[in-house]
């Protein structure tokens, strides 16, 4: 069964979460398939942008609770195990991937589905999409990076409200709060996301990767440490082929042809 549809075209890897009858909620097999695709995205230099979206009417409903039907008389389940085995490596890998990761949120994003989306580098949502931090309603804590990303994208007050109440947040509200990049009409979502992904696939990928790492590092660095990091990354960027190409294209008044290296 293919729970993740993986398509690579013109430098873009499109990953579609594909359990539409279960709102693309995660089970272990789906996690493993996603991990395999990410391995390819990490190793294949010709892939210069990653686009994640969902099949059907939802984006992702987080963990499939059918796998979590707890026997009231049995021992407590170890949810930390699945966080450590699947969700944490996923978030770490997406954050460390030195190329842009776009999330096209096509419908409801709940639980780990919501926090996964908010952790991507660029989030585009369909107007009908919603974000639900459903964890608190089950007595749980936002995982998949939720407690880290939420205050950073929404600010502390809104993060607290969203996480403690667990109420539905509309795509428009999410955009108004600066949590996501863009809201588009439902029928335009796929084309808009593809267009952005294609754009990134023609850009200086090495430099984009450094920008992403630098902005991620800024979340925990002091200004001092960040200035050192900017010096180091600029030093690396200055040695890239694309920097030379960019400058020579600019001086030659022509369109640059970036290779991503």
């Amino acid at each position: 069964m293919e729970f993740i549809l993986c398509q690579v075209e013109n430098g873009v890897m499109t990953l579609t979460l594909n359990r539409p009858e279960r709102l693309n909620s995660f089970n272990d097999v789906m996690h493993q398939q996603l991990a395999d695709c990410l391995k390819q995205a990490e190793r294949d230099e010709t892939i210069r942008c990653l686009l994640i979206t969902g099949a059907g009417r939802g984006f992702c409903a987080g963990q499939d609770l059918n796998d979590r039907n707890v026997d009231p008389n049995g021992p407590a389940p170890d949810l930390g195990m699945s966080v450590e085995t699947f969700y944490n490596p996923l978030v770490r890998r997406l954050a460390a991937l030195p190329k842009p990761v776009i999330c096209a949120v096509n419908g409801v994003a709940a639980g780990a589905g919501a926090t996964l989306a908010l952790g991507c580098d660029m989030v585009i949502a369909a107007r009908s999409a919603t974000f639900v931090m459903a964890f608190s309603r089950l007595g749980l804590v936002p995982d998949c990076g939720g407690t880290w990303f939420l205050p950073r994208v929404a600010g502390r007050a809104r993060a607290m409200g969203l996480a403690l109440l667990g109420e539905k947040l509309s795509a428009e509200q999410a955009q108004a709060w600066g949590m996501i990049w863009q809201v588009v009409e439902d029928e335009r979502l796929s084309a808009t996301a593809q267009q952005l992904a294609q754009h990134f696939a023609s850009q200086p990928t090495f430099g984009l990767g450094l920008i992403k790492q630098a902005i991620n590092a800024a979340e925990t660095n002091t200004l001092d440490a960040q200035l050192d990091l900017e010096r180091d990354y600029q030093r690396l960027a200055g040695r890239s082929d694309d920097y030379r190409e960019g400058v020579s294209a600019f001086l030659g008044k022509r369109a640059p042809n970036f290779t991503g290296k």
Binding site: D232, Y233, R235, L236
Partner: protein, 255 residues
């Protein structure tokens, strides 16, 4: 291609471990070459500092297990390895480890033996000997605990789990962490910075730092003062102070 590449950058000697197929595993032959290169550098007045580097992806992933497996108790008792390590440890000039990727087992012990460890952001330090039914045998249990403290050292050695370059920096095993592609450059820069100073002062200061691990504080302070006094008899000390007072760059002669 040699398994140990020796390069010179002015007064800085660079030793590059070059057994990529074996992830720079430190077999006796390689340790012997390192010891030989350092002994030559110790008496070479043109060399002030040395950087040991393993490449962009791996520092040294351990000892050579094939070599070790062949040795039973009597053979291990008479192993030449401790002497090789002692020869490396006897190097009297600043020694910097530039660590990218894995520094495991003997690789970690080699880094611990160096005076300064500079790490790439992909570095991992660990002593996984316990997972093989053995334990660190070249200073791992002694030097690690002295730089990171009891709890972390015990955890690493008893679980065999490695730590990242950043964790190692927080714990005090590593002085700086840089992007992996820049580790060597920055290590050479630090080495060059040291190499601008008086060679005798460098050696005396290194000796004092080493002694701090060997003796109690009062004895250490007394030895420090002796070394300090020794430097008073050097031409370089006069040159260093004169140059400072005259606001010029000192020209040290190593005398």
């Amino acid at each position: 291609m040699s398994e140990l590449i020796i390069t010179r950058h002015g007064r800085v000697l660079q030793l590059t471990l070059n057994r990529p197929a074996a992830r720079n595993a430190l077999n006796n032959a390689l340790l012997e070459q390192i010891a030989g290169a350092l002994e030559a550098a110790a008496v070479d007045n043109g060399v002030s500092t040395c950087v040991i580097y393993g490449g962009e992806r791996c520092f040294a992933a351990g000892a050579d297990l094939n070599e070790m497996a062949e040795k039973d108790l009597p053979a291990t008792l008479n192993d030449v390895r401790p002497q090789l390590w002692a020869r490396i440890n006897a190097f009297n000039k600043p020694l910097i480890a530039a660590v990218n990727g894995f520094a495991l087992g003997a690789g970690c012990e080699l880094a611990l033996l160096c005076d300064v460890v500079i790490a790439g952001d992909n570095a991992r330090f660990g002593l996984p000997e316990i997972t093989l039914g053995i334990m660190p045998g070249a200073g791992g249990t002694q030097r690690l605990i002295r730089c990171v403290g009891k709890s972390l050292a015990s955890r690493m050695i008893l679980t065999g789990e490695s730590i990242t370059g950043r964790q190692a920096q927080r714990a005090g095993l590593v002085s700086d962490v840089f992007p992996a592609a820049l580790t060597l450059e920055y290590a050479l820069k630090q080495a060059a910075l040291m190499a601008r100073h008086s060679p005798l002062a460098l050696q005396a200061a290194k000796q004092a730092l080493r002694q701090s691990q060997e003796v109690a504080l009062q004895a250490g302070l007394a030895q420090e003062r002796q070394l300090f006094t020794l430097l008073a008899a050097t031409e370089d000390r006069r040159e260093g102070i004169d140059a400072f007072l005259q606001k010029r760059t000192p020209d040290f002669k190593g005398r």
